[in-house]
Amino acid sequence: MLVERTLVLLYFAACIGIGIAASRRVRGSGDEYWVAGRRVGTWVNAMAIMATLASGGSIIGVMGLAYSQGIPATLALFAGAVVGFPLASLLVARELRNFGRYTITDFLAFRYPSQIVRTLVPILIVVAFTIYIVAQLKAAGITAETLLGIPFEYALTLATLVFVIYVSFGGMVAVTWTDVFQGVLMLVVVLGTGLWFLWEVGTPIELMRRATAAAPELGQVEHRPVASYLGYFAIWATAIPVIPHIVMRVFTARDAHGARLSLNLAMLAYSALILAAVFLIVPVGKLAFPDLADADQVFLKVMQSKFPAAVRGMAVAAVLAAVMSTTDALLLACSSSISHDLLGNVLREKASQRTIDAVRVGTAWGIGLLALYWAYSPPELISQFYTAGVGLLSGSLFVPVIAGLWWKKANRIGGVLALVTGALTYVLVHFQILPFGLAPILVSVAASALAMAAGGLLGPPESREMIVAIEKLHAQ
């Protein structure tokens, strides 16, 4: 355990070091703190985006799911997020980058000027993302407890303190550089492991052939309709173009073209990570450990049985990196929702720069510690809740954002109606108060689109000034 623990401590120290270095650059500047000065290059941004999307679920979860439910079902769940990025690059990236502010709330409040939008959007973000953070923290705690032999509470507290320190003091600059570091670590460990097995066996087809001969269920779709996977696919495909911690990455790009390229380069790397995990590592795990009671252990078991301590230590650090690279971006998005979206106007008018800096840091610590407190005894179904939280965001934000950018008849009434209807419908269908027999995301997006159409067609037409402003966002 000594080698593994030392490597993880070195990793933590590197993250804090990056945070301290970044804090000097971001102090006193909103542009630097929230969007890294809008000068993050395409390749750096791509790696940071990949790391932001790749949470603990993208290493431990994806392999556990493929092991227990088969590769096709697993790919259906993860393909939604991958498709979401090209959609984001085609539908929102250029326009939001040209808009040039900090958050998705900034755009919605500009497009649909209303107190409801200014208040409801950040509240939805904070609620959904706090649940998401707790789920990620739980994954970090379990991983460290299993692999390092550290008690769950200690592991949780240590990991939380590390990322709260670098997010709160270093803002987006620290998040970007730690994400790049974490993304490289994840790719090296997962692709390196996959390529090692490929070298041993010969070809992925041969590996798959052996694994599916021994365990045919690995290649089969579970006995439920393919359409039942459509809900998860749709949640992530519609969430990515509007979900705040990804949209903030669009704002950090040097220009609109760079933002579009980085989103798709990130997805090529992410797809390589997921495909290596399910096609190269899971078959080895299935052959070596065919009867695991806890499928999520498959990656850890493979690492423990096939590699020396130094590689295992890197694997633990890679899993923690996956968790932290997502959690840090979520924390920054939550923090911006409170200190920029909700309190921003008051602070800009009445507070000194020193107070604004203190509020930013304090908000990140407040949310981080609240999530930590909750994560000490997380609800059992937290993993399902976080997917529902992401669904709530996409159900409420997708239509207002896309229509606001592309439909000339989208107006303030339509935007507010679409936002509120999407959020309400998602909650009602998810908790089966409105039993529809369809995935909540499909119902809520449809309801939100109907509300937008009703408001746009029946309400007053949008002003000429607003149409011209949106036309400018579409400019090359």
């Binding site: 590769i71 498709v83 085609l90 290649g219 495909a237 390229l261 380069l265 997805m267 495909l275």
Partner: protein, 70 residues
Amino acid sequence: MLKSFFPMDRDEAFALAFLVAFSVFSFLPLWRSQELAGMAVFGWLMAALMVLSPALALFVFGRRGRLRKC
């Protein structure tokens, strides 16, 4: 009808339509039972979608970038 929308570049509109059509095609129920190399065709289609969708978007934006430089 189309006048109600802000115009989209033709290549980008094609890429968007392709992504939506490929996604719908992949979710057709018949791919569940068909197998190829030990795995349901549905799984291969999902894997192809994960590679093709960002590659197509990169191709479209790369082409636009080159045209812009010319």
